[in-house]
């Protein structure tokens, strides 16, 4: 008897390591779907026009502009090139918040595919975050161009920035994978997530420099994983040439641990998610 291509069994998931390898293999097999989904996501976002790129950037741009105009008026701190600081933080935050909040609906929004054939559901948060990555890179480039036009000096460390982008991309995938599954089980999670993210925005040292905090709270910031990633972008863009590479240590550990966690969770429940849709 010839060997089967596909086996669906009630027993395959007993061993988490075999399950994980299987999941990664299945994901790799779906790389064509990944490109098609990504290109359709980008197409929808930019609607095939150059103006489309501008529209999607309007959101971070306006947030930044509003904050940069109002905050110096009400808060008594002076900071050189505050707008650059703000921009680097918001760039990172855009990715994090889109992954957490957008990730929430990643699997639910693609139910139609899940009901058609067997697919590793992990592909949907990965596509979502990848589209966000494209947006992030475009935003970063555009904002540098704008800064040049207004002759604001930015001395970004390109290598540092690229490494930070890669790391935050992986972090985003982990976040989105977790929230996409949570939202399948608890449909009201998405409202909760956006409220939580709003609060965390103010706790992640995006609109104020961390040096402003009293010494004991500064220590607490180290335990905010989101701040760890925001800091990488501060280092890359705001501090530029004096960027401190040791800031990568904790974020890398966070990503590794979360990645393992995500794979372990998904190989266990991926197949059973369809029953909850």
């Amino acid at each position: 008897m010839t060997k089967a291509d596909v086996v669906y069994s009630a027993e395959t998931q007993k061993n988490p390591i075999i399950g994980s390898i299987q999941l990664i293999k299945e994901l790799f097999k779906m790389r064509q779907l990944f490109t098609v989904l990504l290109s359709s996501a980008l197409h929808k976002r930019y609607k095939g026009s150059y103006l489309g790129v501008f529209w999607t950037m309007l959101n971070p741009l306006m947030t930044m502009l509003g904050l940069a105009l109002v905050l110096p008026l009400i808060i008594k701190f002076r900071m050189d090139d505050y707008i650059i600081y703000l921009f680097s933080g918001i760039l990172a935050w855009g990715m994090i918040s889109a992954s957490v909040v957008g990730g929430g609906s990643a699997i639910l929004a693609n139910q139609s595919f899940v009901r058609k054939v067997y697919l590793p559901k992990l592909i949907f948060p990965i596509v979502l975050v990848s589209a966000e990555l494209v947006n992030m890179v475009i935003t970063a480039v555009m904002l540098h161009i704008i800064a040049l036009m207004f002759s604001i000096s930015v001395n970004t460390d390109i290598l540092y920035l690229l490494s930070a982008i890669v790391l935050i991309y992986l972090f985003g995938i982990c976040l989105a994978s977790i929230t996409s599954v949570l939202t399948v089980y608890f449909r009201d999670m998405k409202y909760l997530l956006s409220v939580v993210m709003q609060t965390l925005f103010y706790l992640s040292a995006i609109i104020f420099p961390i040096t402003l905090l009293p010494e004991k709270y500064k220590m607490l910031m180290e335990f905010n994983p989101f701040y760890q990633f925001v800091r990488l972008f501060h280092q890359a863009i705001y501090y530029g040439e004096t960027a401190d590479w040791s800031c990568f240590f904790t974020p890398m550990i966070i990503v590794c641990v979360m990645f393992l966690l995500v794979i372990l969770i998904h190989q266990k429940i991926d197949r059973y998610l369809v029953y909850r849709l």
């Binding site: 359709s40 929808k44 054939v117």
Partner: protein, 250 residues
């Protein structure tokens, strides 16, 4: 290359929530009230203890009342529903045509949806590019090819999904009869096309309420009742069994 389907002791279990959609709020309330989550959830077996063995050339007709487990069985073979017990083994390229409107993205254009539909079935992109004009032609949707799917009528959508599947040259075809839907002229065309794909596929699982179709197309048939195979044999005697034991006893 030979294709096969082997199903061993397959059961599918559904979880039903008594209190509507699962939500964090509802869980919090039930914890505060002091009653656990467990009594809100019930499990039931949609199909149980199914054994099937299909090889090249087999056309299996599935007969049964609504809710007997016909589509659940085919969805389990497609891998959509993970088994609660047992195993499904397959060899060959599988194309399912089970639930209307699945495998599509409402906001993408007709053309993009052709590519999406091909990609979820892992058909190479070049192959789909080659088939695209034929699919558009057969579904008579050429003039709508750059419109988003949400702008199409439901009849047009089912025409599209039928047309895509009909050109993918499956080894294993899972077919629910609802799929040959559309207006009168399309139904006629689709019927012929359906018989053609059934002819070229290596294995077909086919559920229908039309006895003549089952008799014409299939060489084997099973009767499902409450998720179990109660009869298995040639199509003629399966239909007799169904009519005598299930239809007339109600």
């Amino acid at each position: 290359m030979s294709a096969f389907i082997q199903v061993e002791n397959l059961s599918i279990e559904f979880v039903k929530y008594l209190g509507g959609e699962p939500s964090l709020k509802a869980d919090m309330i039930s914890i505060l009230k002091g009653c656990g989550q467990k009594n809100r959830k019930i499990k039931f077996r949609a199909i149980s203890g199914i054994n099937l063995d299909l090889a090249n050339g087999d056309r299996l007709g599935i007969i049964g009342r609504n809710g007997a487990g016909k589509s659940t069985l085919m969805k389990a073979v497609a891998g959509i529903y993970a088994p609660a017990t047992g195993t499904v083994r397959l060899k060959g390229k599988l194309v399912p045509l089970l639930e209307l409107g699945t495998g599509f993205d409402q906001f993408s254009s007709v053309r993009q949806n052709i590519y999406l539909n091909g990609a979820i079935l892992n058909i190479p992109k070049e192959k789909i590019a080659e088939l695209e004009p034929m699919i558009l032609n057969f579904s008579e949707l050429e003039e709508f090819k750059d419109q988003p799917l949400s702008g199409l009528s439901s009849g047009m959508r089912s025409r599209l999904s039928f047309s895509i599947a009909s050109f993918l040259e499956p080894d294993i075809l899972l077919l629910d009869e609802v799929f040959a839907a559309g207006d009168k002229s399309f139904v006629k065309k689709a019927r012929l096309r359906m018989l053609e794909i059934i002819e070229t596929s290596k294995i077909v699982m086919f559920s229908s309420h039309q006895e003549s179709l089952i008799l014409n197309v299939c060489n084997k048939a099973i009767v499902l009742e409450k998720g179990e195979i109660i009869f298995s044999g040639d199509p003629g005697s399966a239909i007799n069994y169904y009519n005598n034991n299930i239809v007339s006893s109600k």
